[in-house]
């Protein structure tokens, strides 16, 4: 209240003086109410977003008694990485006390091929939908988008049967195919919108030059789609990494991803949970997608701007 009145006073003074003497840039006070509001809002929101991360980290560094009797705001009294070590190397699921480590490598094994293949197929779809339209292609696309609204559970059962009939149930292929299928709607939408925003004339020029479907795709379109690739990459890496359902159902025992291990550690149905280990495991599992975002967040924003806006 007093803030605003002094501001108003200041500008009145400025206004009277301004008549003859105004010269150069408009004077800008360091604190304007506008700036104060903007930054305080930003800080409040940031606290909301950061608080859980803080809780995760600090809790994972505390000992169990400290967790039970202390408060969740407090910094750890004697921070140690025991819980992390335990979560990574020795937390047990049934008889396996190998921690998250094997799951980590399984997740890598699932994520890399799934990401590559799903992005590739979606990119080809988007390209075909925009540049090589054929009768009915738009209808397929509409159904695809519509399909993205259907809860996964609806498909789970028949998909298991399909996978069984194909003889790939419980293999890496199965989980890769499933990720490709369920990543298809949103990725295809992204690529389609992006390719639609590229000049059609480039495509025509390449056709006159005699290049065919794949040649144009690989030599002309792909090199131009870096921004949208980054978006797709980030979405897929994080999505597939975070996936639990498909991994546990389709991947087969040998390939259980890290999230399954996390679930096992955290949801061990009985007994007193070790919250510090849980939190450490949680942070460890989230580390890869977090790293992806922290490293390439800027690209993500740019890519979204390039692709998604023309929805």
């Amino acid at each position: 209240m007093s803030q605003t009145s002094t501001m108003a006073g200041a500008s009145r003074v400025a206004a009277t003086n301004a008549v003859q003497e105004a010269r150069g840039p408009r004077p800008k006070p360091f604190f304007t109410p506008r700036k104060i509001i903007i930054y305080s809002l930003l800080v409040v929101f940031s606290m909301y977003y950061l608080f859980p991360l803080y809780v995760m980290f600090t809790t994972s560094l505390k000992s169990m008694p400290e967790i039970r009797f202390g408060n969740i705001f407090a910094l750890p009294v004697a921070p140690n990485f025991d819980a992390w070590v335990k979560a990574w190397t020795s937390a047990c699921t049934g008889l396996n006390c190998q921690g998250l480590a094997p799951g980590f490598w399984n997740s890598v094994k699932i994520t890399i091929p799934s990401t590559i293949i799903s992005i590739f197929i979606a990119a080809v779809n988007g390209y075909a939908l925009i540049n090589w339209r054929f009768k009915g292609s738009e209808i397929f696309f509409a159904i695809l988008i519509f399909g993205s609204f259907i809860p996964y559970q609806v498909f789970l059962y028949p998909m298991v049967i399909i996978a069984r009939e194909l003889g790939i149930f419980g293999t890496l292929q199965a989980v890769i195919i499933v990720h490709t299928i369920f990543g298809m709607p949103i990725l295809t939408l992204l690529f389609r919108n992006y390719f639609a925003s590229l000049p059609q004339e480039l495509f025509k020029a390449a056709r006159v030059d005699g290049a065919g479907f794949w040649r144009i795709f690989f030599e002309i379109m792909l090199p131009m789609s870096l921004p949208i690739f980054v978006v797709a990459l980030i979405l897929q890496v994080t999505g597939i990494w975070n996936d639990f359902l498909f991994g546990v159902v389709f991947a087969g025992t040998q390939n259980y991803p890290m999230t399954v291990q996390l679930n096992n550690i955290v949801n061990s149905a009985q007994g007193t949970p070790e919250y510090n280990v849980n939190m450490a495991a949680t942070v460890l599992t989230g580390l890869v997608p977090l790293a992806v975002y922290f490293v390439s967040g800027k690209w993500f924003v740019r890519g979204v701007a390039a692709g998604a806006v023309k929805g």
Binding site: T253, N267, S268
Partner: protein, 391 residues
């Protein structure tokens, strides 16, 4: 050879118990026990196990919810018939109660083996809490209920409860403790709707009603292990929970009789409702190495062998399925239970009710606990109609 075994025994104590099985299996047969544990019990693990069996990627053996669910898998020819495997063991002779095996039988075949007996029917009481209010520790449910006002006055939680599934067993415990064996048999075995509408069941419903009045979501803790701590600290006075709570109490340093009391069947009845964890052995695909099939058979026999039973149940804190095992090492609570076991077992719901019905009962109980606008009468009526629709 490798034999994959799936189960949802993921906590520390359970895992230790499983490893006893594994050890015996590996020592005796020279095979490898490939352990696939899945957390989340019925809701988390069951779908995965079922989908793997349906999906044609079956494991060598698996823990599974007993009951009518498995029946369909059996019907579909996906489970191995164990009749021949255990033919020479004369299993009927040593199983504690033949009712345990009933759900495993289907059209003359034997498809699963219960490996332990668990009972929900325990009321756990905190010595410390009753010391605080200067009353003796109750001897049965009725005394316990009578002590609630004093507890509340002293700021002690009469009934500690964890969020989620721990509540699901309580109505059944009340039914057998308060309703008595006949009611349980009438409902769980005979599906007698009239019994539900009868006076005995009403008493059960009223007990549940009074219980919900002292439970508030606000005071719930995240896991039942935390309730154990509450009991030991004396911040909560009592809790109904399965026998596995004991393991946690012991780990936390509680001594039965001193720090806590246990009342089987709420101190009222003389029989426990029992259920067991069972193992199934899915049919392996055509062309599987005969050695694996042999390992499967070996495992089936080992699971119910006296040696494995003794080691497993001591660690797990559950009761063995065999009558011919000496459990002198068991603690006082367990001894009480073993005593009651001689009277036979009452069938728990999952023996004869479909899991669909069980799911509906659970939904109903959850809703009743939470929503005070559902009266006892409503409860009875809905309970009856669910039972009626069970096929």
């Amino acid at each position: 050879v490798d034999l994959e075994v799936t189960h949802w025994w993921t906590s520390a104590g359970e895992a230790a118990a499983v490893s006893e099985f594994a050890k015996v299996f590996e020592e005796q047969t020279g095979n490898t026990w490939v352990d696939s544990a899945l957390a989340g019990s019925g809701t988390g693990a069951n779908p995965v196990i079922i989908s793997r069996i349906i999906g044609g990627d079956p494991m060598g053996a698996t823990q599974m919810n007993t009951g009518r669910d498995a029946e369909e898998l059996i019907k579909a020819g996906l489970m191995r018939d164990l009749t021949d495997v255990v033919a020479d063991m004369n299993i009927d002779s040593f199983y504690v109660d033949e009712s345990l095996l009933t759900p495993c039988r289907y059209e003359g075949g034997l498809y699963c083996l219960p490996v332990n007996i668990h009972s929900w029917d325990w009321l756990w009481l905190s010595t410390k809490a009753y010391t605080k209010i200067g009353q003796p520790v109750p001897k049965d449910w009725n005394e316990y209920v009578a002590s609630w006002p004093a507890l509340e006055e002293a700021g002690i939680l009469p009934f500690g409860l964890a969020t989620g599934w721990p509540f699901s067993g309580i109505p059944g415990v009340l039914m057998s403790g308060i309703g008595g064996s006949d009611l349980v048999l009438a409902i769980n075995r005979d599906k007698d709707v009239e019994a539900v509408r009868g006076p005995q069941f009403r008493k059960v419903a009223e007990a549940l009603d009074s219980l919900r009045k002292v439970i508030s979501p606000e005071t719930m803790v995240p896991s039942f292990g935390d309730v154990g701590n509450q009991l030991l600290e004396g911040t909560a006075a009592g809790n109904i929970h399965g026998d596995w709570l004991q393991g946690d109490l012991q780990v936390a340093g509680g001594v039965p009789g001193k720090d806590y009391e246990c009342l089987p069947a709420l101190g009222l009845g003389d029989k426990l409702t029992g259920g067991g964890d069972s193992f199934y052995f899915p049919k392996l695909p055509e062309g599987t190495d005969p050695a694996v099939l042999q390992a499967q058979a070996d495992l089936a026999r080992i699971l119910i062998s006296p040696e494995a039973q003794l080691k497993f149940n001591l660690v797990k804190g559950s009761m063995p399925i065999r009558t011919d095992i000496d459990l002198a090492a068991a603690n006082p609570c367990m001894q009480k239970a073993l005593g009651m076991l001689k009277n036979g077992l009452l069938p728990s719901g999952d023996f004869s009710l479909s899991s669909d019905t069980q799911q509906q009962f659970q939904d109903l109980n959850t809703e009743f606990l939470d929503d005070d606008s559902i009266t006892v009468d409503d409860y009875i009526e809905r309970y009856a109609s669910i039972l009626e629709s069970d096929e």
